[in-house]
Amino acid sequence: MWTSLNEFDRMFQNMDLLRRRMDRLFPETERGWAGWPVMAEVNKWPRINFYDAGDSLQFYAEMPGLSEKDISVKLQGDFLEISGELKSQAPEGYSVHRIEREAKSFARSFSLPVQVERDNIKATLKNGILSLSLPKAESAKPKQITINPA
């Protein structure tokens, strides 16, 4: 019986190794609690798309049912945090058949890969999608370098 326990251990160790390797695919873009990397199962809501558009960084967050006052977007240095609360919208006097959308508070934070201009950040909320446009600081924008003939 002890040998078969050992087998399980080894199997789990291999899975841990695989998971650690995969976590390293997204290094440092997401900080969880106390700076440790976030586990895959935890804290993936709201879902976020993050693009580099040359002159700016673009964030899109999928947050249906939330209005501007339920969401807070904070930028501290190179650290962006999107947080808020999805309140339960159960109407009064109704019995409940099914709830798949739970009330919860959320917070996701990112360290930005480049410097951004803090004063020109635009955030819009449309159809439940939050769009954040963060223009890059001048020094961080891509620059064409001319090649001089020798």
């Binding site: 873009t29 976020i48 993050f50 249906p64 109704y94």
Partner: protein, 130 residues
């Protein structure tokens, strides 16, 4: 972005609209509530606008079909949600008043009111003493 009006109440036997988008089909999450007068459904449909959503009530089946397109400006660091189609079907009890079904789509949240016809409302049955 308020959109309080009847969206689509088709009672004909047409098929779901042809899917011209590529992309996966997702099932939107819903909450369903009920009181004496109506059944109320909330559905999470982020990124879907009124024009891209079809609600079909026919033969005791409720069908929600929609799609959304997303901007993808530049290279992605990561993408956790995508442009996609939505589809979900429910069986309805008999006795929903289809004429009075109405829906509101705001901030990516669909609120669908399905009033019950008089036959479905709870009725106190009087017991006559003999």
């Amino acid at each position: 972005m308020d959109a309080t009006k009847d969206i689509a109440r088709k009672k004909d036997i047409s098929q779901s609209p042809e899917l011209t988008q590529q992309g996966p089909t997702l099932t939107p999450v819903v909450d369903i509530y009920e009181n004496n007068d109506e059944i109320l459904l909330f559905a999470d449909l982020a990124g879907v606008s009124k024009e891209d959503l079809t609600i079909n009530v026919e033969n005791d089946t409720l069908r929600l079909t929609g799609n959304r397109n997303l901007d993808a400006p530049g290279t992605a660091y990561f993408e956790e949600f995508c442009g996609c189609n939505f589809h979900r079907e429910f069986s309805l009890p008999q006795g929903i008043d289809v004429e009075r079904v109405n829906a509101e789509l705001k901030d990516g949240l669909l609120k669908l009111h399905m009033p019950k016809s008089a036959a479905l409302k709870p009725r106190q049955i009087e017991i006559k003493a003999e």
